[in-house]
Amino acid sequence: MSAWTISLRVNKLLVQLILLFVILVLFSFLSPYFLSVSNFMNVLNQMVEVGLIAIPMTMIIISGAMDLSVGSILAFSAVCMGVAFEHGMNIWVSMIIGLLAGLLCGAVNGYLIARHRMQAIVVTIGMLVMLRGLVYVINQGRPVSGFPDAFYFMGQQYIGGIPVNAIFLVIMFLIASFVMKKTRFSTYVYGIGNNEKVVRYSGISVVRIRFLLFMLSGLFSALAGVFLVSRLASAEATSGTNIELDVITATLIGGTHIFGGRGSLSGTFVGLLIIVFLRNGLNLLGVSVLYQAVILGALLLLAVGNKKFNGV
């Protein structure tokens, strides 16, 4: 690594942090409610779903692929869990069913993409449309609610003033970051992103790694679904719609390279903070969700188009 790349990397992180800082300062001026502990905790509480999915998404993009089906998997898992609960199952058993549903979706993605080398984007778009359809088929679009209080612990409780789910998210990020730095799995993922063939020719099963990545994506999307249901106390067919925009924008703003091979979870975490504080600020200013999508879309274009971010 030459000094040049190092300075560039520092530079990239610096740009991200400056952007975050600008957003924080800007909204502090624009909204009187923005700069307060309760609002910040609120933001932390709301960032968990996007954050959880961003973990495997970062890994998948580093490996040179993409998963657009995460939002639908989230909804599918949430509704599966809700329906299982409605059928009289224990809430924790229902939760496991939801997680398994997500894992299954990830496995289908992984099977088609890893084993049969199909284009990740098209396969996951197919899953996106199909699962969203199935969500409505399963439950005719009715929301499910009335979960036991114990279950809300995950999404609504605070420990020492900090939301439980945010603590969980940070722990997951730390674990994932460790995995992506210190284990051979990370070498394989970065290796595949840079030159898949060499990894295969080194006697490593690329199929297995790719499969694992999409399984992880399915599992974390399901996990996000569970936390969402716990936070909102309701499993809805529309949940997770467009979440891929937030996730992918966070990942790419965080410096992960769109063509794979480069990126980090710490970068994604900063990207995540940028996204959630931006959304929160816009919410406080009363900007509609669809206009927020416009701003996020523009930010996504900026992140990928700007040389300082993607480092080429």
Binding site: G126, V129, G133, E196, I258, A293
Partner: protein, 320 residues
């Protein structure tokens, strides 16, 4: 027989025949003249948009934003009409907005060289947001009677939208086969670097294709708005991009570019239309229709992969 199987459109022709027979057995109404007319009629917008998507995919690209472009254009047309602008001028302005959206996509993809998937993913949200914004979140209805001509009128004994679609299809088949800009699209999709060496401006071709796609979506949205008689910005053309993409792939287009024809795509659109219509006629829950669309997309990529494997038999290297 072998020659027939080697035609790229072979699977789609076969599938279309199979599903047609299947639905004919399930429901006696299916093979009625009126129903066939209905299938064509309902999918006019899709036929037109699919022309653009075929070119995009031939380039090796992808356009996820067409559904949102349709929403933005249809909404603006509605807005123009409600301000009392003459239907023909409103339609022309709407098409102009479609072109403008194409210019935006083209600029970021061809000039700024950002991957098309990212650009169109972003503009998918951006255009949708703008559509909802300018509509104020309400339904656009009460279009003037004159405007109905675009979706329901007759010209020379044929329905106007159908005639428009046929003309556009013919024009673009000609462009792709007999003009240099058309052949450049195939060249770029086939071998990008060789195209550059042959002096072809990849950026120009890309830009042109996205602008033309915007134009086609503009035309489609005028027909769409007129036919439906109302527009809801937040849902209009919601899964259009995905469906059209599936139609191109099912119709023999290769996701890697360079291979595919407009004729094949049109068969693909027809196929998707038949499936949807058949499901509805067979009284299956409408929720299943979306699920089926997703399944068809996956089916399309499966076919695509199989065709690729067959063509590259013995050339394993290329697959990796």
């Amino acid at each position: 027989m072998k020659r027939i199987l080697n035609v790229h459109e072979a699977p789609i022709i076969l599938f279309t025949i199979i599903v047609t027979l299947l639905f004919a057995v399930i429901s006696p109404d299916f093979l009625q003249f009126d129903n066939i007319k209905l299938i064509l009629d309902q999918n006019i917008s899709m036929f037109i948009v699919a022309i653009g998507m075929t070119m995009v995919i031939l380039l090796g690209g992808m356009d996820l934003s067409v559904g949102s472009v349709l929403a933005v254009t249809a909404t603006s047309v509605g807005l123009f009409l409600s301000h009392g602008i003459h239907p023909w001028i409103a339609a022309a302005m709407g098409i102009g907005i479609g072109v403008l959206c194409g210019v935006v996509n083209g600029y970021f993809i061809a000039v700024r060289k950002i991957p098309d998937i990212i650009v169109t993913l972003a503009t998918m949200y951006i255009f949708r947001g703008i559509a909802v914004g300018i509509s104020g979140g309400t339904w656009m209805t009460n279009f003037p009677a004159d405007f109905r001509f675009f979706g329901q009128g007759n010209l020379l004994g044929l329905s106007f939208p159908l005639l428009t679609a046929i003309i556009l299809i013919a024009v673009f088949i000609y462009l792709l086969k007999f003009t240099r800009p058309g052949r450049r699209i195939y060249a770029i999709g086939g071998n990008n670097s060789a195209a550059k060496l042959a002096g072809i401006s990849v950026a120009k071709s890309k830009f042109m294709v996205y602008v033309l796609t915007g134009l086609l979506v503009g035309v489609a949205s005028v027909i769409f708005a007129s036919k439906v008689g109302s527009v809801q910005a937040s849902t209009a053309g919601n899964s259009l991009s995905f469906e059209v993409m599936a139609a191109v792939l099912i119709g023999g287009g290769s996701i890697f570019g360079g291979v595919g024809t407009i004729a094949g795509t049109m068969l693909g659109v027809l196929f998707m239309g038949i499936i949807k219509n058949g499901l509805i006629i067979s009284k299956v829950s409408p929720f299943w229709v979306d699920a089926a669309t997703g399944f068809l997309i996956i089916l399309a990529i499966v076919i695509n992969t199989l065709q690729r494997i067959r063509q590259n038999k013995g050339k394993e290297e290329d697959l990796v």
